[in-house]
Amino acid sequence: MSTSATTDEKPISASTSASAWVVEADRAVQRYYDTRVRRDRTILNEIEFRMRPGEFCSVVGPSGCGKSTFLRLVLGCERPKAGRVRVFGREPKAPDRNRGIVYQRYSLFPNMRVLDNVAFGLELDEVNFLMKWINYPSYRKQRKIFEAKAMHFLETIGLAEHADKYPHQLSGGQQQRVAIAQALITNPSILLMDEPFGALDPGTREELQRWLLEIQAKEGTSIFFVTHDLEEAVFLSSRVVVLSPHYTLMDNPNPEGAKIVADIGIPNISKDDWLHAPEFRETVDHILDTGFHEDTKLDPANFVRSHSDSVPPRI
């Protein structure tokens, strides 16, 4: 499935030098000016985070706490008002091919067939913009190569028979699978996912979850996965990060903005075993306790940090 001919940043296997972290957040702050109350509202309050390549990291938290904002900072759509966010040592200035994205809706370009959707990234990479008009035979030759690669990809994910269909003719689950294939075909350093299975029915959701795990195992893709479904997060990930506005600071009992109140490592055992282990349930309940109850007020020294990469508290 790794098909792109150009060299994008490939996941560097793990040393802990700073630039080897695929994602780093260094006291990242995000604020928006709220016109209704005529002042700034802080959404993310000094997020500290670092993630190694190859991890499947989920971000969970109460609704509106800033999970999607955090994702947008990593994606590069927004810049933090203070602090830094880095991907492989570089601050994202704008969305580019190093960070792939899969959204919950608007997953595919509606005006192109499935095959063209998947091949889209390949053509952007290799084909000069005007080649189609200047040298049509050469363009067609290139096109055939891309379509073959895209077709091969579709075959490996079992959707080859839908190659000529338009997105609106596919079911939600099929669309999301194509969207994931579309994002992965350009070999991004990291795949960002914003509640990708949220709009699917439970059966399809389970299917796609397992399928995503297979792909991740095969390709070793780093995945940054935002979801509001705790069981999904605990099942899929190797690491669950809880973003929550419910915490307390020494000099401020009611701070504004979310922090990472829990950073939980998930044992590296087979997913079927994990699903049925008692610790699964315990972990889910633990997450609920730490992030989701308004009256649970941890202070940063007591944030849960059970993953090896969790950033230690500042003094």
């Binding site: 091919r97 792939g100 509606p110 192109m112 889209f120 913009f129 991004p188």
Partner: protein, 311 residues
């Protein structure tokens, strides 16, 4: 059948659709016959014979206009008519003897119907082409680049509020009353509204898709031409379809005011002689042309761009 959204059997649906046409035809025929019973020479509601004559008038060659010609050695009335119309059958239009060296007014024979049709369609086509070109360019740029939108939106929105026929005199002043002016009024008339429409469609594209294109490696140019433009194309074709209505109005109006050929021109010319028969023919013909173009556009949209839900 009269609960909201209740369905109707297709045969009945068809009959219902045909009914108004039949009704109009019947009512007209009755009214026309009544008037002709009172006054056999009535011209306001022409009967079939009068309409047939009107068709004959515009289709067969009749005198269109005149040209001044100097009579040369050996010219006869017949040969003069020949020279100009190429059809000596109508040389009887020229009366009397001709004298060598004399200036003679010689009739130019033409088929009004075709001449008017081509004149009007040419103006409409060119006007639409230019107007649509301007609209697509500006609408796309504004819809894609926020600075351009901020710059141009207020002025375009304001200009769109001006009834185009009100600026027709301005166009006549600058361009005269010939062909360019008629093409300009159509182009400038349809452009502002179309710009605003295209602008909105471009902005309606989900930001997720734009971001996604960038993450797949697209440059801004590629986002515009490979993501935005293809997605607004069906609405763009639909906007053309909708702009044809006003375009015809501007065309007919400008031809009525200052032209020497064209469907609108002819209608207003024969109006002075109460030539209802010709008017009805021309109006019906304009309707047919309009329906044809509309159908072509509509079918193109639904066949080739089925993925878009364009109404």
């Amino acid at each position: 059948m009269f609960r909201v959204r209740d369905r109707v059997p297709s045969a009945l649906g068809f009959i219902l659709g045909v009914l108004p046409f039949v009704l109009i035809l019947v009512l007209y025929t009755v009214a026309s016959q009544r008037r002709h019973a009172e006054n056999p020479k009535d011209k306001l509601m022409p009967n079939l014979a009068q309409i047939a004559k009107g068709w004959d008038d515009v289709w067969r060659q009749r005198v269109g206009s005149y040209e001044d010609v100097v009579v040369a050695e050996g010219d006869t009335a017949a040969s003069l008519a020949d020279r100009i119309s190429g059809d000596s059958a109508f040389s009887e239009e020229i009366k009397g003897e001709v004298v060598v060296g004399e200036n003679v007014r010689v009739p130019i024979m033409e088929r009004y119907f075709l001449k008017d049709t081509f004149a009007s369609l040419r103006r409409l086509g060119l006007g639409m082409l230019i107007g649509v070109g301007i609209a697509l360019t500006l609408g796309l740029l504004m819809g894609v680049f926020t600075p351009v939108e901020k710059l141009l939106y207020p002025v375009v929105a304001a200009l769109a509020k001006i009834p185009p026929l009100a600026i027709l005199p301005i166009i006549f002043i600058f361009q005269g009353i010939g062909e360019p002016a008629k093409i300009t009024i159509i182009a400038l008339g349809i452009a502002p509204t179309m710009i605003l429409d295209i602008l909105m469609r471009a902005k309606d594209i989900a930001t997720e898709l734009i971001t996604k294109a960038y993450t797949l490696g697209a440059s801004t140019l590629e986002v515009v031409f490979k993501v935005v433009l293809p997605q607004i194309w069906p609405s763009f074709l639909n906007a053309i379809r909708l702009a044809l209505g006003p375009a015809w109005v501007f065309l007919i109006a400008s031809e009525a005011i200052a032209a020497d050929a064209g469907l609108g021109y002819r209608i207003f010319v024969v109006q002075r002689q109460l030539g209802m028969n010709v008017i009805l023919i021309y109006v019906a013909w304009i309707m047919v042309i309009g329906l044809a173009i509309d159908a072509i556009l509509r079918l193109t949209i639904t066949r080739r761009y089925g993925w878009a839900e364009v109404k």
